[in-house]
């Protein structure tokens, strides 16, 4: 598994890393532009990401713009529909407007901060991103 963690806040990145690092390789981007660059380089190297955790409020390029940029890159590489990278928005913005906008832009899930490990893992399970053993563990705690 290859994860891209996008957040301008170091503590949020560390928290997501603590949850995800045992489940795959984590790459870190500090703003939306870096996220787009990371996805572009991964596509060029033919080693795409499986999951992106994407913050919204970030400097330079925000999460909405980043998400649109990422989906555009995938279309340019002939990747569409369910073949694309799974995107979970991880944001402090709790209002419906940002949530609906994110789904229109092509995210798969929307979770709000503070990030809850169980909730995030459940979403990953829904997206088929957990290996079966772990899935069993999650089902019967």
């Amino acid at each position: 598994m290859k994860f891209l963690i996008v957040d301008d806040d170091g503590v949020c990145r560390a928290l997501l890393k603590a949850i995800l690092s045992s489940r795959g390789h984590c790459v870190f981007a500090y703003d939306g532009q870096e996220a787009i660059d990371a996805v572009r380089l991964a596509l060029e190297d033919d080693r795409p990401f499986d999951l992106i955790c994407l913050d919204i409020m970030m400097p330079r390029v925000n999460g909405h713009e980043a998400l649109k940029g990422i989906r555009r890159l995938e279309r340019e590489h002939g990747i569409g529909g369910s073949d694309g990278v799974k995107v979970i928005m991880t944001t402090a913005l709790r209002d419906a407007k940002h949530c609906i906008q994110s789904f229109r832009e092509g995210c798969e899930c929307y979770v709000t901060k503070p990030i809850d490990e169980t909730e995030l893992l459940a979403k990953m399970q829904d997206l088929g991103l957990l290996v079966p053993a772990e899935r069993a563990g999650l089902d019967c705690p």
Partner: protein, 538 residues
């Protein structure tokens, strides 16, 4: 319309209007009271909630620090440090909200106690050293000798003002330097007015924001592109504290050209028992170095007979040039005043006597040559005979002659090196300058670096960081190479620099080594010309 001429009718109308007016007046009064009550309730609510939040914060921070002292696994310590850091920044936020609401409710009173200004400034500068170092920023401070060592006032509120200005400067500056300068504005017996200036080389303030910069929450711009974080309370608090202390606050700024915030604060000079000898020891200029090394060095020792601090007027419409000259000559012990055009320069020259004037030729409103001619022709002026050095970015063939004919004493073409400027200044201010030149300190402001050399320099830094297995430095160095190569139009170098960054952040030594090797292929041995991209030479 039919007009009524009946006097009785008119009288009734007047009475009716008066009653209506009175009712409207009562309504306005009631609404005003309601608004006041609501405002009061809001401030009390903010003050209460801040207090309520501080209580559990106390437990979080207290136990966190306690745990940090126990013997723990490194991974556990790292997690605790995250909690500790987050709790501290939350506390700072709450303190700002609390202060703001107390200030707005008029609940804050000032303390009058003796303190040492030098120590206050030093302590505040120390609090931003870490965040500044993370961004590769230098933080310098200088308390001028004329400032009394011991003063009486509210040191805590004063350090809060400096702290807010400084943390803003760090927040809004990506490259360069932050300077704190404390000078004496006015002294009349014990009444002393201190001027504090915090200058950065950061993003500056857009003209449309300049009007609202001291309003509370001015930073919140409603968009979801997060710019710099924070509530935007810092400057509003500074303004209110400055008002409370009877001082003034203001700034000069240009978008992308840095900002310079100043505060004047009236204080009392301390007239009680003599301060401990240690205080004298503190009364020196100290600066914190680029990577947190603290050097303490005395201010320029001046020759007997010479004026202690030469006053220099710098007139240039370019903020960066002014800042550069200010830093170079400021370090050499000069007191610098700056003007952004010829008109401002003449105004300042009308108010104070200068030992040297540096005048740019191309300036808006009033150009340099005209300003020089007016200075020289004003026989009643304070500065008719002052040495004047003219400088300009355009090396004109007859520039020197033109300048000399207008009345300048010397001519300096931009870009100039620090040596040239200091050499010229010491010619006109003999024996007044600390001319010992430290090239390493000014490397960042050296004009026009060769882009290829710059890329090579960044690459060397990357290699060293990789050799040292220092992933933080590797990330920062690769980020610099990325920015520089994008600026030079070398997109594939930038891509590999980014690969290095991503590998560094994941502590992935294998991927990092691979990407650095690819960079070496692209940049190494001056083979740039062989790649598909050519880097334009300026």
């Amino acid at each position: 319309m039919e007009q009524s001429n009946n006097p009785q009718h008119a009288n009734d109308e007047i009475l009716r209007l008066r009653a209506e007016l009175e009712a409207a007046h009562r309504l306005a009064e009631r609404l005003r009271e309601e608004v006041q009550a609501a405002e009061q309730a809001k401030n009390e609510f903010l003050a209460n909630i801040s207090h309520e939040i501080r209580t559990p914060m106390n437990a979080i921070l207290g136990f966190c620090r306690m745990l940090l002292k126990e013997s723990l696994e490194p991974a556990q310590i790292e997690k605790l440090e995250y909690i500790n850091g987050a709790a501290e920044s939350l506390l700072e936020l709450m303190n700002n909200v609390l202060n703001y609401s107390r200030l707005a409710a008029g609940e804050l009173t000032l303390l009058q106690a003796p303190f040492e200004l030098d120590a206050v400034v030093r302590d505040v500068v120390a609090t931003v050293r870490d965040p500044a170092r993370h961004k590769g920023l230098a933080v310098d401070y200088l308390v001028e000798n004329a400032v009394p060592g011991r003063l009486v006032g509210d040191a805590r509120r004063l350090s809060q003002v400096i702290g807010n200005l400084l943390s803003n400067a760090v927040k809004f500056t990506e490259r360069g330097e932050i300077q704190v300068r404390v000078s004496l504005d006015e002294q009349n017996g014990e009444a002393t007015v201190i001027r504090l200036v915090v200058t950065d080389t950061g993003v500056g303030i857009a003209p449309d924001r300049q009007q609202v910069i001291f309003d509370a929450f001015a930073q919140a711009d409603g968009s979801s592109t997060r710019r710099f974080g924070g509530l935007g309370l810092g400057l509003s608090i500074c303004k209110q504290l400055a008002d409370l202390m009877g001082g003034q606050i203001g700034f000069r700024s240009r978008p992308r050209g840095g900002s310079s915030f100043w505060v004047t604060v009236p204080l009392q000079a301390y007239s009680g028992p003599e301060a401990a000898p240690a205080a004298k020891e503190c009364r020196r200029a100290a600066r914190t170095g680029r990577f947190g090394q603290t050097k303490t060095e005395p201010l320029a020792d001046v020759q007997a007979g010479a004026r202690s601090h030469p006053r220099v007027l710098v007139a240039d419409d370019d903020y960066l040039t002014r800042t550069l000259v200010e830093m170079l000559l400021g370090r050499a012990g000069c007191l610098i005043d700056t003007a952004a055009n010829g008109r401002e320069a003449l105004e300042m020259a009308g108010r104070a006597r200068y030992d040297l004037v540096l005048m740019d030729l191309q300036m808006p409103e009033l150009d340099g040559l005209t300003a020089i001619r007016r200075l020289r022709s004003d026989s009643s002026g304070l500065n008719q005979a002052v040495p004047i050095v003219a400088f300009t970015a355009h090396a004109m063939p007859d520039g020197r002659e033109k300048c000399l004919a207008a009345g300048a004493d010397e001519y300096l073409a931009k870009p100039f090196t620090p040596e040239l400027l200091l050499g010229l200044a010491s010619r006109f201010l003999p024996g007044c300058l600390e001319t010992e030149y430290k090239p390493a300190k000014y490397r960042r402001t050296r004009p026009r670096p060769d882009p290829t050399n710059l890329l090579q320099e960044h690459f060397q830094a990357i290699s060293r960081a990789l050799d040292d297995r220092d992933f933080d430095r590797l990330d920062v160095s690769a980020g610099k190479l990325k920015t520089a190569s994008l600026g030079a139009g070398a997109a594939s170098v930038a891509d590999h620099a980014m690969r290095v960054q991503f590998a560094a952040r994941s502590s992935d030594i294998e991927a990092a080594t691979h990407a650095v090797e690819r960079l070496h292929d692209l940049l190494g041995g001056g083979a740039l010309a062989d790649t598909k991209e050519t880097i334009p030479f300026s």
